[in-house]
């Protein structure tokens, strides 16, 4: 299935900003994180279609998955 993956802050270094990628059905957010070589502990926030999601969340066809490191501000 086709999934749009967006990366932010230093997760972009050596990877990409946004890419359409193919994954098998049943893929979770955690699988995507692993497939990109991102250390799970460094993941701060994941948004699937603009909603907060955990690493265990299942991803569906045409979802937009945004992955952020631990960040803050204000």
């Amino acid at each position: 299935m086709q999934v749009t993956v967006k990366l932010f802050a230093f997760f972009r270094d050596g990877r990409f900003k946004e890419e359409g990628r193919e994954y098998p059905p049943g893929t979770t957010v955690g699988d995507i994180v692993n497939s990109l070589g991102i250390v799970r502990d460094e993941v701060g926030v994941v948004l699937v279609n603009s909603r907060q999601a955990g690493l265990e969340a299942a991803v569906a066809e045409n979802d937009a998955v945004a992955i952020f490191p631990v960040i803050g501000g204000g």
């Binding site: 802050a9 230093f10 926030v45 603009s50 907060q52 631990v70 501000g73 204000g74």
Partner: protein, 574 residues
């Protein structure tokens, strides 16, 4: 050096140095400014009249080597909101005031004539001088002139906006490199202008802050600084600044866009922290910079133009959001230029661009017109034309002048960079804050969006009132220590951080505060501030958001703010 209260009476141009009353002794920063304003200012007085008082207080740990402890609180009755107000800023003034032995500087009364004055604070007290040369000048000209007149001194100043008593005028504090940090919100610059004080210079000479138990202090500071440096949020703040938030708030659908009609901005990538970082590096700027010595997080930066010349520093997410998404400007250079202009004019870089967004809706300017914003700042606001004064008095002032109903304010103060429909916790903070809409009063974004201090889903109502309450109480206490609020990310996550902070306060004063005392302090501050507001005529019905948040769904989530009045009012059940 024993701490004293420094008092300046601008009616008869006298000054005094007083012992600290017992009831004020345990306070600093916001706790002290709010305690003094509540004790000495008539809640119903005109904020720009002789009965209002402007109070400056360094935090409990300011002037020591404690990491990130250089915040300066300023308090008064606000001309923008009519409520009590505390706004704090970085820069070197808090450290210098503390080293003068000044626990609080109280400026009261009002001179009769048209003359302007400056103040000089030293460990001996305050002297008042007449000031002629720098009247009408911008903050950078004041800082430049002061550096040649009195090199190396601390500086607190107002620009033309403060002189003209605009309700969005801020008070600016010089940083170590001549940049400006601001007591930004609520028009405190207008209060300083109403006292006819153009600037305050601070010379601590060889003054030092006494520490009751230096060994214990050093040890606690080591643990504290380690917790700050080790937290991943601190690292990201050092690299991208607070502007790292543009993309995540946009992705969450809570980035107020086009005067709060949308929750996402097409041009987000161009104004994001990531783009800003790349631009700073390409132009030989500094991605990391501190607003006062001793900060170990360094969220500030120096942003240069294409030729490598500095445009601005301390370039914050909320300011970039306001000019960027809210006014639909996707050009970071224009936003930086407007930021520098506002620092020079001495006007709040949240209130002013939100006011511009309302003016854009009214057709005064087109959305996206970045050069238009810079022109209006230079030609209208700085010069005090009628349009400049309408904008300089804030978003609500523009709404009234032009008959716009979509005016994002609470208690007249502009709502900042997080849409309360898509991020509901922050809506509770905006509604209930004792100071009008202000994200820093109870930053639920940490938990709603960033996953710091637990997780509370931003789109449900559950848990938001409690979250905002706990954060507002904790924030009031932190604002009393002189600590920059960005220590809160480490404090929420790292077990060692908060105890080390309390240990430093204990070692500084030779006392034995506990975690519970800190919570009680926060509760006391909120209740003191609220009592002032109630006596000024506010009621629970003022703790509401503007109508459109309840009736206009915001994309992409298509949600409204759906808390009833009764639900909001439960905030005060403590």
């Amino acid at each position: 050096m024993t701490e004293k209260i420094f008092r300046v009476n601008m009616t008869d141009l006298t000054t005094s140095v007083e012992d600290v009353p017992a009831a004020w002794a345990g306070h600093g920063g916001r706790g002290l400014t709010s305690t003094i304003v509540a004790a000495e200012v008539e809640p119903t007085c005109h904020p720009l009249g002789p009965k209002n008082k402007l109070v400056f207080a360094p935090g409990l740990l300011s002037g020591t080597v404690a990491a990130n402890s250089g915040r300066l609180s300023a308090g008064a009755k606000s001309p923008l909101t009519g409520t009590i107000k505390e706004a704090n800023s970085g820069g070197t003034a808090a450290q210098f005031l503390a080293r003068c032995g000044c626990k609080a500087l109280i400026i009261e009364g009002q001179p009769k004539g048209d003359g302007w004055y400056s103040l000089m604070v030293t460990p001996d007290g305050v002297t008042i001088s007449e000031e002629k040369d720098l009247i009408g000048k911008g903050n950078f000209a004041v800082a430049g002139a002061l550096e040649s007149r009195l090199p190396g001194k601390g500086l607190i100043t107002i620009g033309p906006a403060g002189e003209m008593k605009m309700a969005a005028a801020n008070i600016s504090v010089k940083d170590p490199d001549g940049g400006m940090r601001s007591n930004g919100r609520g028009g405190l610059g207008a209060v300083m202008g109403s006292k006819k004080v153009k600037f305050i210079a601070i010379d601590p000479r060889d003054g030092k802050v006494e520490i009751a138990d230096p060994e214990k202090f050093k040890e606690a500071n080591r643990t504290f600084a380690k917790a700050l440096v080790g937290h991943p949020v601190s690292k990201a703040l050092g690299q991208y600044g607070t502007n790292v938030l543009v993309n995540i708030i946009n992705e969450s659908g809570g980035l107020p866009t086009r005067n709060f009609t949308l929750g996402q901005f097409e041009g987000h990538e161009k104004i994001s922290g990531e783009t800003m970082y790349d631009t700073i590096i390409a132009r030989n700027g500094k991605p990391k910079h501190n607003c006062h010595p001793g900060c170990v997080i360094q969220c500030s930066q120096v942003y240069n133009d294409a030729s490598g010349k500095k445009i601005t520093s301390g370039f914050e997410y909320e300011s970039i959001w306001a000019m960027g998404a809210d006014c639909c400007i996707d050009n970071l250079d224009q936003i930086a230029e407007a930021d520098r202009l506002m620092d020079d004019i001495g006007i709040d870089s949240i209130e002013t661009p939100v006011a511009m967004g309302v003016a854009m809706e009214a057709g005064v300017l087109s959305f996206g017109d970045g050069s238009g914003i810079c022109r209006v700042l230079k030609e209208e606001v700085a010069k005090g034309t009628p349009l400049g004064r309408i904008i300089g008095n804030g978003a609500a002032s523009v709404g009234r002048a032009y008959g716009v109903t979509r005016v994002p304010v609470v208690k007249n103060q502009a709502i900042p960079a997080y849409d309360p429909r898509a991020i509901k916790g922050i809506g509770i903070t905006y509604a209930t804050s004792t100071q009008g809409a202000d994200h820093t009063m109870g930053y639920t974004i940490a938990t709603n969006i960033l996953g710091v201090g637990g997780k509370v889903d931003p789109l449900t109502k559950e848990g938001q009132v409690e979250l905002s309450r706990n954060l507002q109480i904790a924030t009031a206490a932190i604002d009393s220590t002189g600590m920059c609020l960005f220590i809160a990310f480490a404090a929420l996550d790292d077990q060692n951080c908060l105890p080390a902070l309390i240990e430093m306060i204990n070692a500084r004063f030779g006392i034995a505060l506990t975690g519970d005392d800190v919570v009680s302090l926060g509760q006391y501050i909120l209740k003191t501030e609220r009592a002032f507001n109630l006596a000024a005529g506010f009621t629970n019905l003022d703790d509401r958001l503007p109508d459109f948040f309840y009736t206009e769904p915001v994309a992409p989530h298509n949600v409204v703010f759906d808390f009833s009045g009764e639900e909001i009012d439960t905030f005060w059940n403590f």
